[in-house]
């Protein structure tokens, strides 16, 4: 399996995890370890920067785990840029998952503000992974603005509905010069496998693991699904046919 390269980092695992919604820090740590993920996202707003021993971060102190701070809570580019600077200082990383959702109900990403923030943060040297709609044109605009990857949603965040945006994801994957990470909506290992088979470079999963009856076991299931999907992509899937091949009834006259 090919490794994944984003910015200055190389990943063996193509499964990224979110750290919210778990019943305890211990449970989150077990799931992250079982997933073999090397990149986990943490909300800046959840981190207590006043104390040296933040409880959330203490569970993520493993040498193979890279932190990807996110700007969840930001409603516009200005707030996101402030949050990014604070995160860089607090977590000593210039990696950033850019999330700008002015709509707290469905947490729909704001394309205009996300593009603005990406332009600004790229100038400031951030490795930016923006959470966006599955909008192929926006992806190209973000590339031009200096993004390091794109994170289109599969379906509304937290819904576990799978790849409702599949037609647009296909276009994005086809056109992209930067890694495509399918984020949000992946509710089952089969969804993750499907995204990987399509050629997504990675997937990010949170709710489906955190809220599962057994988060650790579900994390393993996702790990295996992502590997299976990626291998299938690299092996090149045999094409599917919609009908059985008849013996050239329309053109047979040419050979009479």
């Amino acid at each position: 399996m090919q490794p994944l390269i984003i910015g200055d980092k190389t990943f063996q695992s193509r499964l990224f995890l979110g750290t919210g919604k778990f019943g305890s820090g211990r449970q989150m740590e077990e799931a992250v370890l079982a997933s073999k993920s090397e990149l986990v996202t943490v909300a800046l707003k959840r981190i207590d920067m006043e104390t040296d021993t933040d409880s959330l971060l203490s569970y993520l102190q493993h040498s193979h785990i890279n932190l990807l701070p996110n700007t969840s809570g930001a409603r516009n580019a200005k707030e996101a840029v402030f949050a990014a600077q604070l995160a860089r200082e607090a977590l000593e990383t210039n990696w950033l998952k850019l999330e700008i959702h002015p709509d707290p109900k469905y947490l729909m990403p704001d394309a205009i503000e996300t593009l603005k923030a990406t332009e600004e943060l790229a100038k400031q040297g951030f490795i930016i992974l923006p959470y966006i709609h599955a909008d192929p044109v926006l992806c190209k605009r973000l590339e031009d603005a200096g993004t390091s990857a794109v994170m289109p949603l599969g379906s509304p965040i937290g819904t576990n509905k799978g790849l409702k945006t599949v037609d647009f994801l296909e276009i994005i994957i086809e056109q992209s010069r930067v890694p495509v990470i399918v984020d949000a909506g992946i509710g089952a290992p089969s969804h993750a496998a499907m995204a990987m088979e399509m050629g997504a470079d990675a997937v990010l999963v949170n709710t489906a693991i955190a809220v599962a009856g057994n988060p650790k076991l579900m994390a393993e299931a996702f790990k295996e699904a992502v590997i299976a999907g990626r291998k299938a992509f690299e092996a090149k899937l045999a094409g599917t046919l919609t009908s059985a091949a008849a013996s050239s009834p329309l053109t047979s006259f040419l050979y009479d």
Partner: protein, 372 residues
Amino acid sequence: MTTFKDVFEKYDWDTIQSKILAITSHEVECSLARPKRDIEDFLTLISPAALPYLEQMARMSRAITQKRFGKTIQMYAPMYLSNECQNICTYCGFSLDNKLKRKTLTDSEIVKETEAIKSAGFDHVLLVTGEANQIVNINYFLNAIHLIKDKFANISIEVQPLSVEEYVNLHKTGVYSVLVYQETYHRDVYKQYHPKGKKSNFDFRLETPDRVGKAGIHKIGLGVLLGLEDWRTDSFFNALHLDYLQKQYWQSKYSVSFPRLRPAEGIIEPNFIMDDKDMVQLICAYRLWNEDLEISISTRENEKFRDNIISLGATSMSAGSKTNPGGYVVDTQSLEQFETSDERSAQQVANVISEAGYEPVWKDWDKIYTSS
């Protein structure tokens, strides 16, 4: 400009009440089977006909809450700044006609209370006052917020209704959330419970969440005082209010609280008793109707109820609360708004939450988003 009053006036209390009582079990089953539920489904699910479906509602509520909020409970503490009040509210300990000594915290007292709340582990605080515009007004609030804003990640406020400009000021100073309860949506009954003071103006209060929304406040908290009137009809109007606000001020989050009338110094007994079954039904109905609504459970409720509601739809809880100004350290015997029922410490409650398989979350906001 449209406000909730325009929506509210299209409805009639008695018609809604009759409609709730006429709901059939078939209608309840239809509502439960729908993948997405609207305000009519909420009405159905708070009806007496839905009570036999409580276990199913609870299971659904748990699953929906976990999907949206995960297995987490946000922790917060109230800080009462003043019990001065120019209103007569016949159910409230702070009522003007309650002839007891009043207290308003000074700067140094606010700092001391802050230290006590912080040392219990809290990072989210709710500032509460009565309504005494001469002493406890916007200038007092802004000063208090300046005093504490570097100490807390998240500041909410529950004070008298203010103007849009004042809410804008609070927003800019770092207030995340404003809570304002209508108490009851029954116009005539409201008058009886609030005979004197600025609060007696029903419409001004009814339009307050509109002003909060216009000011761009991140979260708006609503509720009715359960016990003043028929909880079912009142809760329908509260949900209608939320439904309107969510569409109108789409960038704000919404929360609902469930203050059940509790004994307080010099007050009347509740007119309508709401038992625990009713309360669980109401909480589950809110969740089944509105997946994103934050549901807050205070220490008015007793230990047993609170311990069991953790996994049924609650998303935030106060703990170790004092409902009097200076109650944590400064003046522990001052006049309180109501008696708390769950008197366990914050840490004890956090342990109970953990034992239930949930994570008590102390910080889930950063002041960078409210003061940038």
